[in-house]
C-alpha cells in the first residue's frame, strides 16, 4: 500500500476516533465517578445532533453563523438535560443495587428516543458543511477535508481541556478523588451529590459536542443513539472503565481498526471491532488502562 493511501486511511480513522473519544470520555467519567453504565449516553449525542439540524434548517439565511451558534447551544442544552436527569432520576439510586442505575438509564434511552421521534420524526436529516469549513487541504499528494480536520482539532482541544480540568483544578482533583474513594471524599467535606451532578452534566456536554459536530459527517436519525453507544462502550471497555486516557487510546484503536476493516473486509467491518473488544477483554479482563474493579 502506498503512503498516501495509508495517510487517507489514518485520517479517516482519526476523524471517527475523534467523535468516539468525545462520547466515550463522558461515558467513562460518569462510570468512574458514580459507577453508572449510562445506556442513555448516546441519546445526548443524538439529541445534540437533532438540535443542530433544527437550528441550521430553520435559520438558513447565514448557515455558517448559525452553525457556530448551534455548536454552542446544542451541548449546553443537553448539558442541562443531563443535569435534570441526574437530579430527578439517578440521584435517587446511589447506594442502591447497581443494576437499578443501568435499568433506569435503559428506560431513559427509550424516553429520549420517544421525545426525538415525536419532535423530529423518523426521517433522515443532513447538515451541509458550513461555508468556512468547506474544501480540502493538500498534503502527501492527498486531499484532506477541512471539516474533518476541524473535528479532529475539536477533539484534541477538548481532550487537552479535560486533562487540564482533571489534573490542574480543584474540581478535577475532587472528581479523581470520587473515582478513587467517594466515601472518604464526602467525609472530607466535599458535596459529593453536587459533584456528581456536575460530572454527569459534563459527560452530557461532551457527548453533546460530538453530536453537534457530527451533522455534516453522518446523516441524523433516531437510530444514532444506539449505534454510537455500542461503539463508545467498546472504546471505554478497551481503554478500561473510568479512565479518560484509556478512552483516548481506545478511540484511536477502534477508529483505525474500523477504517482498516472497511478497506479489507467491507461487509464485516463492524465485526472487527467486536472481535477486538472480545480479545482485549479475554486477555485483560479490566481493559488496557483499567484498574482492578471494586466490588459494588
Amino acid at each position: 500500500m502506498s503512503l498516501d493511501t495509508v495517510a487517507t486511511l489514518v485520517f479517516s480513522g482519526l476523524t471517527s476516533a475523534s467523535l468516539l473519544f468525545l462520547v466515550a470520555a463522558g461515558l467513562t467519567l460518569i462510570f468512574g465517578a458514580m459507577h453508572i453504565v449510562n445506556i442513555a449516553h448516546g441519546s445526548f449525542y443524538m439529541l445534540a445532533a437533532f438540535v443542530v439540524a433544527s437550528l441550521t434548517q430553520s435559520m438558513a439565511a447565514d448557515s455558517t453563523a448559525v452553525f457556530w451558534l448551534s455548536l454552542l447551544v446544542a451541548p449546553i442544552l443537553v448539558g442541562v438535560l443531563g443535569m435534570l436527569t441526574e437530579v430527578l432520576v439517578l440521584r435517587r439510586l446511589y447506594g442502591r443495587e447497581p443494576l437499578l442505575g443501568l435499568l433506569a438509564t435503559f428506560g431513559l434511552l427509550y424516553l429520549f428516543e420517544g421525545i426525538a421521534l415525536i419532535v423530529w420524526g423518523g426521517q433522515y436529516r443532513s447538515i451541509p458543511i458550513p461555508h468556512a469549513l468547506q474544501g480540502h487541504v493538500q498534503a502527501v499528494g492527498e486531499a484532506f477535508s477541512i471539516y474533518n480536520l476541524f473535528v479532529i482539532a475539536i477533539a484534541i482541544a477538548v481532550g487537552l481541556f479535560l486533562w487540564w480540568l482533571l489534573q490542574r483544578t480543584q474540581l478535577g482533583w475532587r472528581v479523581r478523588a470520587a473515582v478513587e474513594d467517594p466515601e472518604t471524599l464526602a467525609a472530607s467535606g466535599t458535596n459529593v451529590r453536587r459533584l456528581f451532578t456536575a460530572v454527569f452534566a459534563l459527560g452530557a456536554v461532551l457527548a453533546g459536542i460530538a453530536g453537534a459536530v457530527t451533522g455534516p459527517i453522518e446523516s441524523i436519525t433516531t437510530g444514532l443513539d444506539a449505534q454510537i453507544l455500542v461503539e463508545a462502550f467498546i472504546v471505554v471497555v478497551i481503554g478500561g472503565l473510568g479512565s479518560v486516557p484509556g478512552a483516548a487510546i481506545g478511540a484511536v484503536v477502534i477508529g483505525l481498526f474500523e477504517t482498516a476493516g472497511v478497506i479489507w473486509a467491507p461487509s464485516f467491518a463492524s465485526a472487527f471491532i467486536y472481535v477486538a473488544m472480545i480479545l482485549v477483554l479475554i486477555i485483560r479482563p479490566s481493559g488496557l488502562l483499567g484498574v482492578t474493579e471494586r466490588v459494588g
Binding site: 462510570f31 453504565v37 432520576v89 435517587r92 439510586l93 442502591r96 443495587e97 447497581p98 443494576l99 437499578l100 443501568l102 435499568l103 433506569a104 435503559f106 428506560g107 431513559l108 434511552l109 427509550y110 424516553l111 429520549f112 428516543e113 420517544g114 421525545i115 421521534l117 415525536i118 444506539a226 455500542v230 462502550f233 467498546i234 471497555v237 472503565l241 461487509s267 464485516f268 463492524s270 465485526a271 467486536y274 472481535v275 473488544m277 472480545i278 477483554l281 479475554i282 479482563p285 479490566s286 481493559g287 474493579e293
Partner: protein, 337 residues
Amino acid sequence: MMTESRHSARWHDFGVPIVLACGALAILVASFLVAPQWLFVLQDIVAFGLFAVATNLLVGYGGMVSFGQAVFYGLGAYVMALGWQRYHAPFWLLFVLAPLIGAVAALIIGALALRTREWYFALLTLAFSQLFFTIANRWYDFTGGDNGVFGPMIPSTLAQPRHGLWFVLAVSFIALLLLWAITVSPFGLTLRAIRENPQRVEAIGVNLRRHQLYAFTLSGAFCALAGTLFVVHDQSAFPGLFQWTQSGEPILMAMIGGMNYFLGPFVGAIIFIVAHNYLVAHAASAWELILGIVLVLIVLFAPDGLLGLWGSRASGSHPFMLLRTVVAAMRSARRSR
C-alpha cells in the same frame, strides 16, 4: 424485607406450577374465543415470556446481567429457518437441535465472558450480541443478510394460528416447568446464594464459576428454544433478533414484572407485548416515550416490579389471595397429618 421475601418464596414454591397450569388452561380456552389476530399476540406473549424467564435465570437468579441472550434466541430461530429452507431437515430434528446448539454456543461464549465480572461481563455479552448481529446481517450467502429468511419454514399444520398457539403453549408450559424445577433445585438455590454473597459461597467450597457457567448454558438452551417458538409464531428469522436491544427486552420485561419472582418476567412480557400492540395500532409514535417513562417510574418507585407491589401488600383484596389461602390451608393440612 427479609420476612417478606421469605414469604413470597414460600408461596411460590406451590404457586408457580398451579398458576402456570391455570394460565395455560386460560390461554387454551381463549384460543377458541378470541379473534384470529389475538391468536398471534398470544403466541408472541407465550414465546417471549419463555425468553424472558430464561433470561431471568441469569439476571434475576444469578445476578449476571447479560446483554447477550439474543445470541441464543436468534440462533434458535436461524437454526429452525435455515435448517428447514436450506437443508430440508425435518421439523422435529431442528426443534431438538436448536436448544442443543444454543447450549453449546452458550457454553463457549459463557466460558469466555465469565472471565470478566459485573459491568465488563454485561458489555462483553453485549459485544457478542452485536458480533452475531453483524455476521447475520452481512453474510448474504448463508443467512440471507439483512433480508433475513422468510417464507414457509414450519409444517403447514402449525402454520394454522390456533394449532401454532397450542404448540407454542405446550412447549412453553413444559419448558417453564423445567426452568421452575431448576430454580427450586439445590443448584437454583446455590445460584441465588451466589448472587447474594459470592465470597461466602466460595468460602464454603462451591465452584463459583462452574455454577455460573452451568446457569449460562441452561439459559442459552432455553433462550434458543424460545427462538424456535418465535419462528413458529412469525415464520421468519432476521438479523435484528441478534441485536443488543433484543437482548435488552427480556431484561426490561423481567424488570416490569419483577425479577425476584419466577413468573415476574412472564407477567412483564404480557404487559409489554399487549401495550406494544395497542400503542403501535393507536399511537405509534408514543410507544418509546411511554415505555421509557414507565421503566423509569418502575425503577424509582417499584424496583421489585409489579409482582413486588402485589407481594408487599400484606392483606386486602389480593388477586392471588384466594389461591394463597388455599395453598396455605393445604400446607397446614398436610403438616398436621
